[in-house]
Amino acid sequence: MHSKKINEYALDTVIYVILIALGLSTLVPFITVLSKSVSEEWAITSGKVNLLPVGFQLDTLQYVVTNHQFLHAMLISVLVAVIGTLASLLITAMTAYPLSKRELPGMGIVIVLFVFTMMFNGGIIPNYLLIRQLNLIDNLGSLVLPGLISVFNMLVIKSYFESLPQSLEESAKLDGARNFTILFRIMLPLSGPVLATIGLFYAVYYWNDYFNPMLYINSTSLKPLQLYLQDIVMNADSSSFKMSAEDMMNVPAEGVRAATVIASTIPILLVYPFLQKYFIKGVLIGSVKG
């Protein structure tokens, strides 16, 4: 009995040590980039920077965060993420609510239509042509509208609504509430966790979206952060023969690239911990069928 307990402790310790080591190892690349962003350029070039910065300085980071284009791209990204998330949440919830009412006529067909779009989509060419015809090229609308509703997220919210007691709505109806009032005054306030989770999904989607802006945005002043990052970080290898010598002399230094990555990761890192608690609850909700 006693020895078994010691064995268990030993096993637990080993498991914890392994898991902690694994967990910490995922931080290594991040720490390396962080160190590079605050190291002097010569140390990076000669490969001296690993986990700890060499020749600590904050000039590169300061250069990046005061760079006009960086700030502008950041602003665009925040704008798209905030507006996109709010709009998506609203539309998704408003779609999910009627679909959570089983008595709605023709509901089977509507659900099938929605699910159909989960499995098949037109592809890039029709999408591009559509956006072009809608005059949304070079317009921030092209970043928000195509991803406004995700059927998967809508189904998660729908099943959450279904899990709320029917009697709540009935009593509201007796008190004279109409559908909109019920949705906005009763259902949504009760759906905090699931909305936070889905909101986080949407926020991450809008924040990370790189492909849509690449296709649809031409003007520099509308480029979001991910495109800016792509330009700064990618293809800065002087060995690519396409580059002319002028460009090679002007390639952003490794330290600047590292600092750009760090400065653009921090905002989303700051949002994460605050939503973490909802995140756990919300995902659980999605997994339990109503």
Binding site: A43, S46, G123, I125, A236, M249
Partner: protein
């Protein structure tokens, strides 16, 4: 997943492009197309001008031009070179940039969707340019230049203009390449002093120097030091390939342009380099070296020689002076090979191309703008600024004044549409003078190398060759990988014949036929 989306999007762009170009060419079939397209151009021109005048009032009748250009790290509109051009030409410009990654793909989308850019500037890509021209997506510039472009005519040589003709019409304006030689072997001259040897002049002497680097350990890190390092995807070592008579990817062998892999000197070259490798003179790890790893070895003071481009020198030099304060280095001059051959591959031709899409709203004004920007004093001010403010002249050489030159002229080349071909190579060297160490290295390769040792890469001045363009990249990678294996001993030279057959079958033969048909007609 990411790769898949990329491939999808490439497919997408091709299809979109094809469909819209089909629309273009069906227009062209109308016989009197030039008249009608001029008419529409004129009407759109008017309405654009009216709108503009209504909107701004101040700029009399000149339309705002819309330009698409390559990526740069600063805002095109606010960078001083942009403001200068606005002042000098009188035209306002709006700029969009192509992405750094996969610019062609995005350009295909934009061209296909008929975005009304007045001027588009891209990196030189003859295949793409010819394709656009043939499909009718570009404006024929010849009549416009005749009418509005006297400066363009005097700045851009007839030779350059001829090189860009597609079916007898000129659709583009080139920026020339300003220097012939890029890569060379950079060697630690302080190590040379330490081992008591002079700069090598032949491949044998070079080998002896590397042997001395290995035996006498001038770097002082013992077995950590390597005499000679390079990155793994660069097995055709500049300067050394020249010593074996094949400085360029394709060289003239008895009147025929021949790719290196089929060159009769190829086995000798491989024997020499694999000898260096086997003797421990060439970095044992070069096969897996990335660009950055090779540079790390050199700039941390642990390598005696490295293959680099001169433009990479400032970073390397900064790092190296921290690691080894008395370090000195220089490019090895052209080495003589066993048969007395020597030389560097020299590039000519174009760095960028600019064109006016069919969808441009103001093609005439685009040419007027280009003409104004190529006015000799304007062009000079664009390239290097104002004497006394941005540069000084020292013994006929243009020297930059720092840091203002960096702040206001570093990106000037992004604004150029065409270059003053007679003077630009001289103006341009002001940029290289920004770093004296870099200039010295540049000078060794480009100004001090005898003309006979700057051997023109014939293909850098070739027109668009279809089979060659299609296969070249693949064949280069294939023969590069194979050469690495030969050098490292993973493949034996006995197998060369078989590999050459494979090379020919994979498009080598077709390319050779096509390239030499052009070469013979030249």
């Amino acid at each position: 997943m990411k790769r898949m989306t990329k491939m999808l999007s490439i497919a997408a762009t091709t299809v979109v492009l094809a469909s819209s170009l089909a629309a273009c060419s069906s227009n062209n079939n109308g016989g009197n197309n030039s008249a009608s397209s001029n008419e529409t151009a004129a009407t759109t021109d008017n309405s654009a001008t009216n709108n503009n005048a209504a909107a701004t009032d101040t700029s009399a009748t000149l339309p705002t031009l819309k330009r698409l250009d390559v990526f740069q790290g600063e805002d095109y509109a606010t960078y001083p070179a942009g403001k200068l051009l606005e002042e000098k030409t009188g035209y306002k410009m709006t700029y969009d940039m192509l992405p750094q990654d996969n610019p062609t793909q995005k350009l295909n989308l934009l061209m296909a969707s008929g975005e009304p850019y007045d001027i588009v500037t891209t990196y030189n890509d003859m295949a793409m340019y010819s394709d656009y021209a043939k499909k009718g997506a570009l404006t024929d510039l010849t009549p416009l230049i005749d009418q509005f472009g006297p400066n363009i005519k005097s700045a851009i040589s007839q030779q350059s203009r001829d090189a860009l003709k597609v079916d007898g019409k000129l659709y583009g304006i080139p920026n020339i390449i300003t220097y012939p030689v890029g890569f060379g072997i950079l060697i630690r001259t302080d190590w040379l002093d330490k081992v008591g040897m002079k700069m090598p002049a032949s491949t044998d002497e070079f080998q002896a120097v590397l042997q001395a680097f290995k035996d006498k350990n001038p770097g002082g890190h013992g077995s950590q030091d390597v005499p000679f390092t390079l990155k793994g995807d660069l097995p055709m070592i500049d300067d050394l390939v020249g010593a074996f008579g094949m400085p360029n990817p394709w060289n003239d062998v008895n009147g025929q342009l021949t790719p290196r892999l089929l060159d009769p000197s190829f086995p000798d070259y491989v024997k020499y380099v694999s000898g260096l490798y086997a003797g421990g003179l060439l970095d044992k790890g070069f096969v897996v070296n990335k660009d950055a790893t090779a540079k790390e070895k050199f700039s941390s003071g642990k390598a005696g020689a490295i293959v680099v481009h001169w433009a990479d020198i400032p970073g390397i030099s900064d790092a190296l002076t921290k690691a080894a304060p008395d370090a000195k280095f220089a490019f090895v001059p052209a080495l003589k090979g066993p048969n007395g051959k020597s030389g560097f591959g020299a590039n000519k031709g174009f760095d960028r191309l600019s064109f006016v899409p069919k969808s441009a709203k103001n093609p005439e004004d685009a040419i007027k703008w280009i003409n104004a920007s190529l006015e000799p004093t304007t062009f000079k001010e664009l390239a290097i600024g104002v004497e006394g403010t941005h540069y000084t002249v020292d013994n006929g050489a243009y020297m930059p004044i720092l840091p203002i030159f960096n702040d206001e002229r570093n990106l000037a080349n992004d604004y150029m549409v065409g270059t003053d071909e007679a003077n630009y190579p001289q103006y341009w060297q002001a940029r290289v003078h920004k770093d004296p160490v870099m200039f010295e290295a540049f000078d060794t390769l480009n100004n001090k190398t005898a003309d006979a040792d700057k051997i023109l890469n014939q293909l850098s001045v070739a027109p668009y060759l279809e089979a060659y363009s299609k296969n070249n990249q693949k064949l280069e990678t294939m023969s590069g990988d194979y050469t690495v294996k030969l050098i490292a001993g993973a493949e034996k030279l006995d197998g060369l014949g078989d590999f050459q057959k494979k090379f020919n079958a994979e498009g080598g033969e077709a390319s050779i036929k096509e390239v030499n048909a052009w070469y013979a007609s030249k």
